[in-house]
Symmetry: C2
């Protein structure tokens, strides 16, 4: 992933949150239509994106056929791109072993998002796959993240405790964190706790974070960031030109990213 980031001067992750009800009208509102849409989005954006994130919920909503579309979409992603199953799984050991089979063996994702509530048990079985990565929720971008994530736990907030504790479970090559971009002011605190881990930042674009601010406070010498954009790319146009418009949107983000890499990252 790191080579690809410097090669493309991009840390763009395209989020394939493909809503069957929002496909362009010339495509059928069917699982087959979703797959065709994804394949064209991937092809159109691959020059500018280093990563693709598949939000499992949108596929599960279509049942077994949707699950098949997810697997086929993954196959359409070019070799060298970092593929993330945005599944937010989290369970006890023997169940996590099954999730690892689902996402790392039956399908061949590079990474999976995981919720921290059940502790190390939710992460450990994934770590047996040495070339795979767990992306742990730390601070999310939604409004009610504050219900629990920012509660004071001793001297710090819960999400800081999650970062501090979990960072001992695996080294940065196997562990990343989800950090909501709308909380860019928190990024300095986060980088003080986990200077070397990659951060997956949703919430730029439709969810509205500032790329410059994320880069300024979140980037490390290896870049250390993946910034996700979903709706702003997928639905850039509702017409037959959707792929071309998606490409332009991705390119625009990549160009902004290139500037921030030059400004903030040192090799």
């Amino acid at each position: 992933m790191k080579n690809e980031i410097f090669r493309l001067k991009s840390y763009l992750c395209v989020g394939l949150d493909t809503d069957i009800t929002r496909l362009p009208k010339h495509l059928p509102a069917t699982p087959e239509g979703m797959l065709a849409f994804n394949q064209q989005i991937i092809e159109a954006t691959a020059d500018f994106a280093v990563s693709y994130k598949i939000n499992t919920a949108f596929y599960e909503a279509q049942g077994a056929e949707g699950w098949h579309v997810m697997a086929e979409t993954l196959k359409a992603i070019p070799v060298g791109k970092f593929t993330i199953a945005d599944a937010k799984r989290g369970d006890i050991g023997n169940t996590v072993t099954q999730y690892a089979k689902a996402f790392f063996e039956k399908m061949s994702f590079d990474a999976i998002t995981v919720a921290p509530y059940m502790g190390a048990d939710s992460v450990t079985p994934f770590l047996a796959y040495l070339d795979k990565t767990v992306v742990l929720l730390a601070l999310t971008s939604n409004e009610t993240a504050q219900d629990f994530q920012t509660l004071p736990v001793g001297e710090e907030m819960l999400y800081e405790k999650v970062l501090r504790t979990s960072s001992t479970w695996a080294n940065p090559s196997q562990l990343m964190y989800v950090v909501g971009a709308t909380k860019a002011t928190y990024l300095q605190k986060i980088r003080a706790i986990v200077p070397h881990h990659f951060l997956l930042v949703p919430g730029v674009g439709a969810q509205g974070g500032s790329l410059e601010e994320v880069a300024r406070f979140g980037m490390n010498s290896e870049v250390g960031l993946l910034v996700n954009a979903s709706r702003s790319i997928l639905y850039a146009s509702a017409g037959e030109d959707f792929a071309g418009q998606a490409r332009q949107e991705a390119q625009k983000l990549q160009q902004e990213m290139a500037i921030t890499i030059d400004k903030y990252a040192q090799r």
Copy 2:
């Protein structure tokens, strides 16, 4: 569900954590074999169980075919049983809406387990389905539950804060909690915070909690408990008599439960 509990004098939930590698030898180790196994387990235990819980991980590990087995298994569960998707999903609103479609529309589960880390956003979209129930993780039975769930947050522990906060999101007809049986001593504290909610208690049987202790401290006047058993029932025998042995195991638990209902529940 409440009628069924008093009719059968049982609060047994059978957990269909069906591991394709642990099927009896006379069944094929295929998705079809899983389905045949589940159908026989359900038929054998339906006289004693009021609820069935499908652990989605074991089905996802078989890909789209496994997802199909999950949907077909759900159809094999008799009307009147309370069906739970043990999916531990948790995400932001527009994603949760998709999970609701997956588990409440595309399939017709009565309930889904949900992780609390992202706050109310992870629960609210499910509540639009007035006849469905969210089962929120509170205190889980695994060892590393202590990494975060029992951290002190002000005067109480995180899981208590989760209970107190989330109990304002929905009334007890739409909200239940997962409470690990190995923490039965915590049940008194939990009942002080949520006296009326149903509790889903895993960890009796293979995970080793005491049914008497759970009933003593966890039962309310409407019983208010579902106790899950998975491996002790599913794998009671590895031979051709697996269904008969599963039935006996379920009946044994039901008989213990009937005693505790007479002892601790008042209509």
